[in-house]
């Protein structure tokens, strides 16, 4: 190791600065969210804000330790860390404590540890290590399958814990695979599938009146529309090779998807999940059931106006109208008390952080560090997108935390580790040959 001076010189202080700002803002908002006249001190450790301060302090220690560890530690022990986490995920299924229907916690003393938070980091390490191996080509089927297995294994174990939200996060790794050469068609197929799924849900229950007293369900109407669109595309490209076969396959795949939506929706998704999706799509207004959280969240954010009601003055917050206020719906407090200005700043901070991470990635010499960096960006992005998206009614209610803002030690530690390992590797980038 070189002297600590060079470490301090080489650290990307902008990322560290963003991290500190986000964490401080998060802490102040948790204070506002659970603000209680009885326990006014922000340092009161019987309250969440006091506890969060403890988590922040320990996260600082963890960050420092990471910066002092040799960066080769992470690439060398990537698979080992991954293996240990997988074992923990299995163990939590057997002996874990259940909270709100999910068995994803270890209880040690008074504290609860959630291994699924750390498995994102471990998976990212393992995936980076695998993809940075020499002679790996994304085009090969074996590569795709191995990568899918590395990502899928923890995701399935977390699904078994009944924590669908955390499992979905692993979908974010598709961005990493894309960056490393996965065909853009996969992203496109993902998008088209999601789009068709949503469109079908919205239209399938409609019935269209046709001439001669015929009726057509929304599902069949969509299939006819697909036929016309794909037919037109085929017609204009009919000179191209194999376009007929290609169009036919696409048409059959899309039609199959449309017809299977019902099945997936009713048989594969849990009732509360289907309900949340329906509420988000506005198919089922339900402000007191599944839509309660979102509706209250929108009222809280909307009532903030342009400048907000002022720190600690949010009434929605005070009256506990938004459940999970300090965890999943922490963004409400920001929107209500700081208004659009506050929301803008927070979204801006996250955007800056994400783009800064992309910038860090682009200057890495080692493939491992670069891929790892994209993993960090993808995970942060996914959390950011789903969490804020659900509070403003753009995403279904999936209970995953907003990095650095939501209350919770495991997630804060996990996001800190994710970010500081990248900062460490970035600081040592010049040493990589």
């Amino acid at each position: 190791m070189r002297g600590s001076k060079s470490l301090i010189d080489n650290i990307d202080w902008m990322t560290v600065g963003l991290y500190l700002i986000l964490i401080l803002a998060g802490w102040l908002n948790i204070y506002a969210a659970v603000y209680n006249e009885q326990f006014e001190s922000i340092f009161d450790t019987t309250q969440r804000y006091g506890k969060q301060l403890l988590w922040i302090g320990t996260a600082g220690v963890i960050a420092t330790v990471i910066l002092l560890i040799d960066e080769r530690f992470f690439s060398t022990f990537g698979y080992l860390i991954y293996g240990v986490i997988i074992l923990l995920l299995v163990a939590v299924l057997l002996v874990g404590a259940a909270t709100k229907g999910a068995t994803s916690w270890f209880e040690i003393g008074g504290f609860k540890i959630q291994p699924s938070e750390f498995s994102k980091f471990a998976t990212n390490l393992a995936l980076s290590k695998y993809l940075s191996t020499l002679n790996i080509r994304m085009k090969e089927l074996k590569t795709k399958l191995t990568a899918a297995a590395i990502i899928g294994l923890p995701a399935i174990l977390i699904l078994l814990q009944n924590d669908t939200g955390s499992a979905l996060v692993y979908g974010a790794f598709i961005l990493v695979l894309f960056r490393e050469g996965l065909s853009g068609n996969f992203l496109l197929i993902g998008l088209v599938t999601a789009f068709l799924f949503v469109i079908t849900l919205i239209f399938q229950n409609d019935v269209y009146q046709l001439p001669f007293e015929m009726e057509l369900s929304g599902g069949w109407m969509l299939i006819i529309l697909l036929f016309i669109i794909i037919g037109l595309v085929y017609y204009f490209n009919r000179k191209k090779k194999q376009i007929l076969l290609f169009s036919a396959v696409i048409f059959i795949a899309c039609s199959g998807l449309v017809k299977s939506v019902d099945y997936v929706f009713n048989n594969i998704l849990e009732p509360h999940q289907s309900k949340r999706i329906n509420v988000m799509l506005g198919i089922e207004p339900d402000p007191y059931g599944a839509g309660y959280n979102v509706n209250q969240s929108l009222i809280a954010i909307g009532s903030g106006g342009f400048t907000g009601k002022g720190y600690l003055k949010g009434t929605q917050t005070k009256y506990d109208f938004v459940p999970e206020q300090s965890t999943d719906f922490i963004f409400c407090t920001i929107g209500e008390e700081w208004g659009f200005i506050g929301s803008f700043v927070v979204v801006g901070l996250f955007m800056t952080l994400l783009l800064r991470i992309l910038f860090l990635c682009s200057r890495q010499r080692s493939a491992f560090a670069r891929i790892y960096g994209y993993g960090v960006a993808a995970i942060f992005f996914f959390h950011f997108m789903i969490n804020i998206g659900m509070t403003i009614g753009l995403a279904p209610v999936i209970g995953i935390p907003l990095p650095f803002f939501s209350y919770g030690g495991s997630s804060l530690w996990a996001f800190t580790i994710l970010l500081f390992v990248l900062i460490k590797m970035d600081a040592d980038r010049l040493e990589v040959l």
Partner: protein, 613 residues
Amino acid sequence: MKQYESRQFTIGAIFLVVGIIFLIRLFYVQVIDSHYKLDATNNVLRTVVKYPARGLIYDRNGELLVYNEAAYDLMIVPKAIKEDFDTTEFCDLLEIPRAEFKDRFEKAKKYSRYKASIFEKEISARSYAKIQEQLFNYPGFFVQTRTLRTYPKQTAAHMVGYVGEASPKIIEKDKYYKSGDHIGISGIEKQYEQVLRGKRGQEVQMVDVFNRPKGKFQDGAFDTSAVSGSNLILTIDAALQAYGEKLMQNKKGSIVAIDPSTGEILALISMPTYDPNLLVGRERSKNYGKLSQDTLKPLFNRALMAKYPPGSTFKSINALIGLQEQVLTPSMHYSCNRGYSFGGRKMGCHPHPSPVDLEYSIQTSCNAYYCNVFRSIIDHYSTAEEGYNVWRNYVTNFGLGKKTGIDLPNELSGFVPETEYYDRYYVKGRWHSTTILSLAIGQGELGFTPMQMANMVTAIANRGYYITPHIAKEINGRTITEFDSTIVRNETGVEAKYFDEVVEAMYKVVEQGTGTSARIDSLQVCGKTGTVQNPHGDDHSTFIAFAPKENPKIALSVYVENGYWGSRWAAPIAGLLIEQYLRDTITRPAIEQRMLEGNLIGTVPKIVGNAGE
């Protein structure tokens, strides 16, 4: 991987697009859309449940039996209660002790800090007027209106039943009910719950921090209005019911009156009764406790649940069975020497001329005659078992020993033993007609409800059949017989021609026999007295009757516990009720007076005279 370097810009673009979409959406939600831009003072939502008014209940003549009165539930939202809340003043207003306030507040907090729960329920309109003026001083409290049952005629308590709060058990079983909902717990209220309850609605209000409603949330997009329950018209004649209850005051027993041509229940009386208004609102549980501890068992619905042996009134049925089985003819004579001797034993009888024929046997209620009739029915078959089964089949065809199917909950089926019962008791093949001879005179193991007895009378009045008795006449303007397929004509298996003799004899009972105290001038009343042996105390007085003889309009059974002979209490009461129903006047005020003054709950007043039966 240089070849994919440009993809970092695609990824960056995806990030930016999502960020920009979020900012646009946030700008829309926070700045442009007033839909969410609720003022900070009135964005507290409150769901007020709109309780439906229960359906009203009328008697057959349109007299209102049950209606609703407004009452108020005081709701609490613990989180909205301010630091400077004046507990003392508030407790004075509500007239509750401070400790009670604390208990309830803690209970509400336990349920939810920000959802409303009931703090004080069913406050009467009068008490509410006072509270209403002050309520705005107490943020965190508001009022929810609902209705409570009122019974203007204070009659027919058992039949109408009562309404209570849905228990956790019911809520778990039936998804419709929520905590705080009312549900019919007994009587008509329970039987026709689905008809009467209506549909709950809700209103989502915005309330400011001073607890003042600020209008509807999203213009009432999530509001639903309550739908009142359907009205119910009963077959009951409220005047007859009330008159019967009056005649039965200070007595235990039961009266059931039915219109034989339709099976409509005209009166269903169980005494002692209680004022149905006692089981309403805040006082209900206290009063219920008192009533359930009363040794006279006022909550027990004798009309449907008490089992009495039919006594001598049952002789008419044995006569009919004998006639149909052709082991008896009207001219058949049997002698009676103060009773009937068999195998060294004797069933006693009172002194009367002998021998007697069928008509006179009913008139004078001769025990020996029916011992002969019963034995010839049973012994007509090769084994007692076979004969008994034939006899039993007729009895059940008269609606006895099984539920009549009346549309009220908790009806009991009464008891006519099966052969297995006697096999167990006396060893199979070792019992004979003489073993069970007490059935001949309506004693022994037989146990029928007053409801079943009245129904049996309708079968006699109709000369061979009865219509399933029922108490609902019209639901929301539709006659019940139009859609209730359980109301049917039930045949007894005894041909009409055999009834003439028995009906004639029953007419004579009232004209010149044991039932003259039920006689009404120029009205052909048919009846039969009975004295029910009671091992626990004084015998019960009973009387069955119908009138007029041709095209009967009313059939009834009267039981007066510990009243001795049927002629003493049951017959005069039956006569008064028939006159009241058919004539709407009382021509024998002396008898009426004696009935009203009669008190059988304390000691039985000694009344001299009256022949036995």
